[in-house]
Amino acid sequence: MDRTRPLRIYLLRVAQNVQAQAEYRLDFVIGNLATVLRQAVGLAFVWVIFERVGSLGSWTLAEVMVIYGLAGVPLGLFELLFNGLWRINGMIRLGELDRFLHRPGGPLLYVMTTDSALHGVGDLVTGLIIFAVGAAQVGLSWSLGSVLFTVGAIVCGTVLHFSINLISASVSFWVVGLRSSLMYGVHSLSEFTKYPLTIYANPIQLLLTWVVPFGFAGFYPAAILLDRPETTWIATLLPLVTGAFFAVSLLIWRAGLRTYESTGS
């Protein structure tokens, strides 16, 4: 089989989703308005606080913006590229997974492309803008190295969102009654990592670094860019953690698929 075939199938299906949703242009505009508003409200909150106190612990407003923006970009990319993962529970429950089981490229390829949330564009763009404004105010000096690092960090962050969501969605293979609630709960933890992780109590920091490592999808790479020494050694583990969680998520998904096929439901 042609090696690039899965990629072509993937792109074709995303293009289809985009095309289908382009029919509803107003939906696209308003959906993105909501995501932009969400980012704006979150930022307004930070701004109101800084108006009063000037800093968040040892972090300046510009530094928080770098973290906040860098956390938003992988989230937007995830929604845009892999949003179909949210439907896994429903597919298992209703037996809809069956129709993907024997298609070329494997079922995951089709599951993750059952939806592409165009409102992810809003998260992506506002994230980039907030990041850029913050970075300019901090006075980050850009080199080829730091640009490549930032791109790499965004890719890793997106893969982390994918892996964490795939793991929590795969739990549905064993506990169908959960609906998507576990996934929502786990996903909501990413809320923490829009702000400097160091402000939280230790258990929360440990949770978001080692158990549900959303900290690597924004905060840690931002800390490296900002040259904050207190977190640098953990931040260097970014590719390792990403790779490990990606591998584990695929293993869990495959194990889940086996139980799905064997029950034949």
Binding site: I49, E51, R52, L56, S188, E191, F192
Partner: protein
């Protein structure tokens, strides 16, 4: 007789709400994540400060928990139930019933609020009191006025939801619109940051919008930050907004149904 019909609608909706306990429970847990994020941000902000804008850290913690309950008395489901009736066309059945559409939806929302609100209230108050040292109402009078203000808050919230729900007569982008509305309410009601922290110009805007009656007014009464005559004035402002928004809702409803009849005729 009409009252019995409305009551039956409320009871029925309460039963529906009870069947979705699990997703409600995860909703509460997800919400607690958000409270925790805000709590830690405030803790850092209060480092070395005892009072900010008239709030001690304990009052701020109390504000967080009480405002969360107020903000979430209405679940997303309840908010969209008005528009979904319009979208799926079942609104036409409502038209032939000898009930006031607005009153009927209000009765239903009260039904789900009794279940959802009470559950959220119990869980959040327990966590707040045990783990975070949240305080009770400032005085017995404040407690009584808080209950009154809470009821008014529910009615404002409903009146706004109703108005926004009617938008689905004209647009299919309900999800984005409801989400945008939620975010605007979240910010201007003081659910995210107390209005006292707003810069003067922004506070003036918030002062003249109806949203602060949903969260800010009941909470500052709870905390005893307004009392005596000013407290009565605040309650009166809430009541006035209910009248205005209710009448606006009724007017838009008439406009919309006229359109509906034209289309269906």
């Amino acid at each position: 007789m009409a009252i019995r019909a409305y009551a039956a609608l409320g009871v029925q909706r309460a039963q529906v709400a009870l069947t979705y306990r699990l997703s409600l429970a995860t909703g509460i847990l997800t919400g607690l994540v958000r409270i925790l994020v805000l709590y830690y941000i405030w803790r850092v902000v209060y480092q070395g400060e005892s009072v900010l804008q008239g709030f001690t850290l304990q009052e701020m913690t109390t504000y967080l928990f009480v405002s969360f309950v107020l903000r979430n008395f209405y679940s997303f489901q309840t908010e969209t139930s008005i528009s979904s009736k319009i979208r799926d066309g079942s609104v036409s059945f409502e038209l032939i019933k000898p009930l006031n559409y607005q009153m009927a939806r209000f009765a239903e929302s009260l039904g789900s609020v009794v279940v959802e609100g009470v559950l959220i209230g119990i869980v959040v108050a327990t966590v707040g009191w045990i783990a975070f040292g949240m305080s009770g109402p400032a005085t017995p009078v404040a407690a009584a006025a808080f209950v009154a203000s809470l009821v008014l808050s529910l009615m404002i919230n409903f009146a706004i939801c109703f108005l926004v729900g009617l938008v689905s007569f004209w647009s299919t982008s309900v999800f984005g619109i409801v989400n945008s509305k939620r975010l605007i309410v979240e910010f201007f009601s003081g659910a995210l940051v107390p209005l006292a922290f707003f810069p003067a110009w922004l506070r003036t805007i918030a002062q003249w919008l109806p949203f602060r009656g949903i969260v800010s007014t009941p909470v500052i009464i709870y905390l005893g930050q307004v009392s005596g005559e000013r407290m009565w004035a605040e309650l009166a402002v809430q009541a006035a907004w209910i009248v205005v928004m209710w009448l606006a809702g009724a007017a838009v409803w008439r406009l919309a149904t006229r359109r509906l009849e034209v289309n269906g005729g």
